[in-house]
């Protein structure tokens, strides 16, 4: 099987499962299709030899974030019958505007000519852990440290928000 066929197949399945995220009525089914989409995107990363990003994508997205979504769904106990309905007009308008957005993006990308750089030739190990770690702890060390501050802030924020306040609950 040729490589083009494999990537085309993977891309088709990815788009299909992303569509099912939007189309499926039950939220839990949506979450599971999103996990499938993340796994398929990770397989694309492996094909592109970005092994670190592929593993982190599975661990962080499919492992942590989607489990968080599933837990919240379980806590909220949503029923299929009180799933909010969208009117047909809004559906139609959003699909049309999404199509227009797609056309605009494709037109913009088509005009931007992609020039192959010299880096295309020999070095394909840039996605390995060694190379990425070297770059992360030298050139991008300041954003890396700032992101830890962001994590602390979001953690404190999540705890503060989730704490039940006595006076607001009757």
């Amino acid at each position: 099987m040729s490589l083009q066929l494999i990537t085309a197949l993977l891309g088709g399945v990815t788009v299909g499962s992303a569509l099912m995220v939007v189309l499926s009525k039950h939220p839990v089914r949506s979450v599971l299709y999103l996990v499938l989409t993340f796994f398929l995107i990770s397989s694309n990363y492996i094909l592109m030899n970005a092994q670190f990003i592929a593993v982190v994508n599975i661990i962080v997205y499919a492992g942590a974030i989607m489990v968080l979504f599933l837990f919240v769904l379980m806590l909220l106990n949503l029923k299929k019958e009180n799933e909010p309905k969208t009117s047909l007009t809004i559906k139609l308008v959003s699909v049309i505007s999404g199509g227009i957005l797609f056309t605009v993006f494709i037109a913009a990308l088509k005009d931007g000519a992609v020039i192959a750089s010299s880096g295309l030739l020999e070095n394909n190990n840039q996605g390995l852990v060694e190379n990425l770690g070297q770059l992360l702890f030298t050139k991008y060390v300041l954003p890396f440290e700032v992101s830890s501050v962001l994590f602390i802030a979001s953690m404190v924020g999540a705890v503060m928000l989730a704490k039940r306040e006595k006076q607001t609950i009757d």
């Binding site: 979450v31 592109m48 999404g98």
Partner: protein, 109 residues
């Protein structure tokens, strides 16, 4: 060990451009169509992931690792955003007993 890139083996970069644009537009349409706030957050994650896919594709194509570092930071921000967003959602659900974004207009102050 040097592995051959898939772009040297005949896969075009335009394929990944179209694929990630398609995923982004599916996410955008999902944000517009669905009214369940959890699915809205999931569609935002889908849009972020489509951008990640294009960044990794160009990073591999040009042989520079900087794009993959940016993907790493996007994942960091997405994780922070998901935690805060979901805790706000749980908070709103406690007060309103719904996750319908159309009914969140009653939150005055």
């Amino acid at each position: 060990m040097t592995l051959a890139s898939i772009f040297q083996m005949g896969v075009s970069i335009e394929f990944y451009m179209v694929l990630s644009t398609l995923l982004f537009c599916i996410g955008a349409v999902g944000v517009m169509v669905r009214r369940n706030a959890i699915i809205l957050l999931m569609c935002i994650e889908l849009m972020l992931n489509s951008v990640n896919l294009l960044l990794v594709a160009f990073s591999t194509y040009f042989g520079k690792a900087d794009g993959q570092i940016f993907v790493f930071f996007i994942m960091v921000v997405a994780a922070a955003e998901a935690t805060v967003g979901l805790s706000i959602l749980v908070m709103a659900y406690r007060n309103l007993r719904t996750t319908d974004v159309g009914l969140f207009n009653k939150l005055n102050g």
